[in-house]
């Protein structure tokens, strides 16, 4: 039998039973579609976070309060805040870092005349923009003199400016933050969101002023810096310095004994990569299960089809079809069905993934639309294999039919 005759015959018999064929491959369609959607969104999330990490630079080191052993769990809001401006000074003087910047985070009411909003407050120093790159639109950023002099000055994020002053230039105006008066010295360019927090909704002020006037404490929430040499030895150096300033006796460098946690963006990227790999494995397992279930459906329907077409098979054998001819016809039919299901699943999956990404982009700025090309390739390969594997038994049954018995079948 010629290939094109084989394909035509199989295609015709699928087309004859369009509804049944569609229902038969529904399992495959859903399985493939779901995997494409989940992979697309999973890879989108991974891409989004990795982009954010990359935008901060791979030489960035980050220090928070808490146990130094990250495997003991995520940072808790009740963790004692152990980092101070003395630590910043020590790291600047003794560490292999180009910039060390302290940040203190809080929230509070910000008021200008009649307008009042509740927003994020960030106590920073003059190195903030060297570690977290951003541009000043109007005026200037917090400088060294502001920090040293406990100055009541503030720099506004673009959203805060818009909410309080509309299109007016606010530089030189006064605002009240939690009842304390501040003079606006600058406005930031729009920055968007980083790590799901909107940087444009921030009011920046000197960390010293914020400690004394707003928070009433002498700690800072985190330190960020850029390493000048090897990242890992810079992290070790930071730990060594902080153990000294915190009076921690830890000669063997056991992280669990530390009251601070040193991490780098590289660590975060590695973690995200590992999570992504685990996610992919999980999806592959779900896909495998759904494809086996779908494949059994295919086998079931093919067996029904063989029984229904017993007389046709008998006739084809009587006019000279060999076992191989019949086997091929039913196998090609099964593969055509599953491959068709795979194509349908990919189309539906990509459509949903595309719409989903559009929806997420509406909420999360900079969310990438990822079409997992390799998954599309695998979808086609795997659905064909499912057809072959689950089609072989019904096809063999058809091929082995005795022509005389088959012709007599009612």
């Amino acid at each position: 039998m010629r290939i094109n005759d084989l394909l035509t015959a199989s295609f015709d018999s699928i087309r004859r039973n369009t509804t049944r064929s569609l229902l038969t491959v529904l399992g495959i369609v859903i399985g493939i579609g779901a995997v494409i959607v989940m992979l697309s969104i999973g890879q989108g999330a991974q891409g989004y976070v990795l982009n954010q990490v990359a935008s901060l630079g791979s030489d960035q080191i980050f220090i928070e309060s808490g146990s130094g052993d990250q495997s003991s769990g995520p940072p808790s809001p009740f963790t004692a805040q152990t980092l101070t401006l003395d630590d910043v000074e020590a790291l600047r003087q003794r560490g292999p870092f180009s910039f060390v910047s302290a940040t203190l985070i809080s929230t509070g009411a910000v008021q200008s005349g009649e307008e009042s909003i509740f927003t994020d407050l960030a106590g920073v120093d003059e190195y903030q923009l060297d570690v977290f790159p951003a541009d000043v639109a109007l005026g200037r950023f917090i400088d060294r003199a502001d920090v040293d002099g406990y100055a009541n000055v503030a720099v506004l994020g673009s959203d805060v400016t818009r909410d309080l002053f509309g299109d007016q230039d606010p530089v030189g105006e006064k605002i009240k933050v939690k009842g304390t008066s501040f003079r606006i010295v600058g406005v930031m360019e729009q920055q968007g969101s980083k790590f799901f927090s909107n940087l444009d909704a921030r009011v920046y002020m000197p960390v010293t002023t914020m400690q004394r006037e707003i928070v009433g404490a002498d700690y800072v929430n985190f330190l960020a810096m850029r390493a000048t040499g090897d990242l890992d030895s810079a992290k070790d150096e930071a730990r060594y310095i902080l153990r000294d300033t915190h009076n921690i006796d830890n000669p063997n460098g056991e992280l669990i004994k530390d009251d601070f946690m040193v991490s780098s963006q590289q660590d975060a990227a590695n973690t995200i990569g590992a999570v992504g790999f685990a996610l992919t494995l999980l999806l592959a397992a779900i896909a495998a299960i759904s494809l086996v279930v779908g494949g059994i459906g295919i086998m079931n329907i093919m067996l029904v089809s063989v029984t229904e077409r017993t007389r046709e098979i008998g006739l084809r054998k009587a006019i000279g079809a060999t076992e191989k001819d019949i086997l091929q016809q039913f196998l090609v039919e099964a593969v055509m069905l599953t491959l068709g299901g795979g194509v349908l699943g990919v189309v539906i999956g990509i459509t949903i993934a595309y719409l989903g990404a559009l929806g997420i982009q509406y909420v999360v700025d900079g969310w990438p639309l990822v079409i997992p090309i390799s998954a599309v390739f695998w979808a086609f390969a795997v659905s064909s294999i499912v057809g072959l594997v689950f089609g072989i038994y019904p096809a063999r049954r058809a091929a082995k039919l005795d022509p005389i018995e088959a012709l007599r079948y009612d």
């Binding site: 010629r2 015959a9 008998g314 009587a318 006019i319 000279g320 012709l407």
Partner: protein, 221 residues
Amino acid sequence: MPVISMRNITKTYQNGDVETSVLRGVDLDIEKGEFVALMGPSGSGKSTMMHIMGFLDQATDGTYMFQDRDVSRLSSDELALMRRGEVGFVFQAFHLLPRLTVLENVMLPLVYLGIDLKERKERAAKALDAVGLADRVDFVPNQLSGGQKQRVAIARSLITDPAVIFADEPTGNLDSKSSEQVLGILRDLNKAGRTIVMVTHEVDAAAYASRIIRMKDGCIA
């Protein structure tokens, strides 16, 4: 030289411990150009004879020469290849594929000979013309009468230009008028030189044949 030459053909079925003999040493020669009617009561072995002659089945023992070639022992693929090129079948139940058109049904045997679509169509049209159904090529079997269906089946059996056409009770499902028409076509084909073997239990049908072979209890009577 006979087209079909059988010597001491036996056929037994093993059903558990019970052995049933359907053919008990049949000798038969059929010459080229003959129109043979195989008659006999049911269970006489006439259908089994036809199945063996037509390569749908194999004898348990004995020698079968087809066109001077020993075909007593063939594999299932070799049997399929013999059916493909050397013989054609007409069945009582027509066995047309309901979803295919008349033309496509007639073309079907040529698919397995690997003949391209253009030639298949030409040859199928010619075969349908020979049975008087040139105007029905685009019909599906359900739109045809029983007599017309059987004529389509005859066209299908002819299309590979086989050495022998086997007709298994070809008029069994037809009224007398259609039967006459179908038997007339078979007689005309025979007159044009085609060898035909017809299994029937109707005396009227057997009258169209040039020779009648009667079977009883697995032997030629």
